[in-house]
Symmetry: C2
């Protein structure tokens, strides 16, 4: 159960770059099973002179398709088959750069929710000067209740431990101000629940704190999380472009030196190096990479999936949530 | 009624920088009335050898105070007195770098809503490579209905015409995806209303479009708008810092050249040059500047206030909203 079912047909650059990333990860000792059209995948493996196990899947779900419908009508899609490998215990993790909606739906429907989880959530990794943060939910649940935000905090805390190696990660509630009492009813209720949770809750955090090392995990609903995540990507790209344009009129030598100095930043802000988003709260490790992922992004996504399995992400989410729900029930019953 | 009531006591750097900005604006022909503690303001004017009309206000509302309570308990605060000047017709605009909450509350309660406006909204200016965009609401209304988002679209359209000189500004609905049908019930309903509004509605826009010249006005609720705005500020600052750090190890000559090339970007992204946010939908032009505003920011805020008066922001908002509401009623009655 330590192998990873990789949707080899999902993503703008599939299958060539997906297979190339799998070959790189396999060389690092990651146990990958390719899921997709066998003949195409054999052809790709040939180019690398590599051998990897293949599970045949004859259909493919496109980016524009309605997720629920596509899953129903294409039971032999690479996404469906890969999810079933996890459900059946033949794999412990599922990685895809295909349709985020279809991958999330397959994980929730086929693999299934973890015991004690109300709503699985999509946690995205954002690189920052201090390292990286997780923000969740980023789009799995557009409208939620305070109890769900509490669970997102717990799952995010476990994920930050597992993927970043942090002890007692700082959990922040994304809000429109720092003071307690800020926000909608949702945030005010969630603030109370998070305060009582035993998590390392640092209180409300704002949009401007996303790059400011105030929290390791930013908790919010899926609509707000999606807007914050995409705003981050858009503004980072905008500023990087503005800087390179501004510098381009200087001498070739200066441009070269600047480009060399700025490259590590671009690399840090590049999703290629973040490894993708994690669907937390399902009975398997699920990593959803960017649609435009190349081989480096896929290798990183596969490494993260392996870390998630080795460090028992699923079991720890289940145990922590069960403990917290038990504690809440005890408190509710106490006089 | 063409003078601007300036809260000279509001802001981290009041009154010195506020008065300095007023003196600069007055030299440009802007008609400013200083509102605040007379003796202090006379002392500040003396430094510049300038004379400006003063209306005495003996109290001051601090940044941390509860807005509604502060307004009730401090009727002689500079914010209250300035708002009453607009209410009484002695000024046509109100500018403050003080507490955003208190300034918004004073505008809504004292100056009052414009006819046909359901909810006043805070529109912030974000500079972009292509110019600038408006995003509203940025915090006046955390939870809204679809009809409110329609009105925000109308008010934002008028404001973009008035402040940016745009004809037929592009109105986008901030959403978690581009396709129609995306979003919460709120966005799906608002999409329909905006489509039928006669505005230049370009459909759904995403967080990553904030710097991408896809729309001139981004419409959303006050919670999401606040998060998106502050995320933009935070990420822009983060990337600028990372770039300057990366370059700092190069030779002095290169650093100097790069700093010179990058300065115009920093200036563009600097709130000092944006002139602040606009509270739309009240019976006067209201500009709320950043709390940390210096003289340049204040001069720009005062210029924007003057533009708003000269180009009849208030009357145009009222007329456009009235026309659109009439049109909706006619449609609702037609068979």
């Amino acid at each position: 159960m330590t192998s990873i079912a990789l949707d080899a047909m999902g993503g703008d650059r599939a299958p060539a770059e997906i297979v190339a990333g799998a070959v790189m990860a396999a060389a690092d000792g990651v146990d990958v099973v390719l899921v997709g059209e066998r003949d195409q995948l054999l052809g790709e493996l040939d180019r690398h002179g590599a051998e990897l196990p293949i599970v045949n899947a004859t259909e493919r779900i496109g980016m524009g398709e309605d997720p629920a419908r596509a899953l129903r009508e294409k039971p032999n899609s690479s996404i469906s088959v890969a999810a079933r490998l996890v459900k059946g215990g033949e794999a412990g993790a599922f990685v895809s750069a295909g349709s985020t909606g279809a991958a999330m739906a397959a994980a929730a429907i086929v693999i299934g929710r973890t015991e004690a989880v109300h709503r699985p959530a999509l946690a995205s990794v954002i690189p920052t000067p201090a390292g990286a943060i997780l923000i969740l939910d980023c789009g799995a649940n557009l409208e939620v209740k305070a109890e769900h935000l509490l669970q997102f905090g717990v799952m995010g805390s476990v994920a930050a431990e597992v993927f970043f190696g942090q002890t007692s990660p700082r959990i922040g509630l994304l809000n429109n101000g720092e003071e307690p009492g800020k926000g909608r009813n949702l945030e005010r209720d969630a603030f109370k629940l998070l305060s009582e949770s035993g998590l390392n809750f640092v209180g409300n955090v704002e949009g401007r704190d996303l790059g400011a090392d105030k929290a390791d995990v930013f908790v919010t609903d899926g609509f707000v999380g999606n807007i914050a995540l995409k705003t981050t990507e858009g503004v980072a790209a905008m500023v990087a472009t503005m800087v390179l344009d501004a510098v381009s009129s200087l001498s070739d030598e200066v441009v070269e030196q600047v480009a060399k100095a700025v490259r590590p930043i671009r690399d840090r802000l590049d999703y290629e190096n973040t490894g993708g988003a994690h669907l937390l709260g399902v009975n398997g490790v699920v990593v959803i990479a960017h649609g435009s992922s190349g081989r480096v992004a896929m290798r990183n996504a596969l490494r993260m999936a392996r870390d998630g399995m080795e460090r028992d992400l699923v079991g720890r989410v289940r145990d922590q949530l069960t403990a917290i729900e038990r504690e809440r029930n005890v408190r509710a019953l106490s006089p």
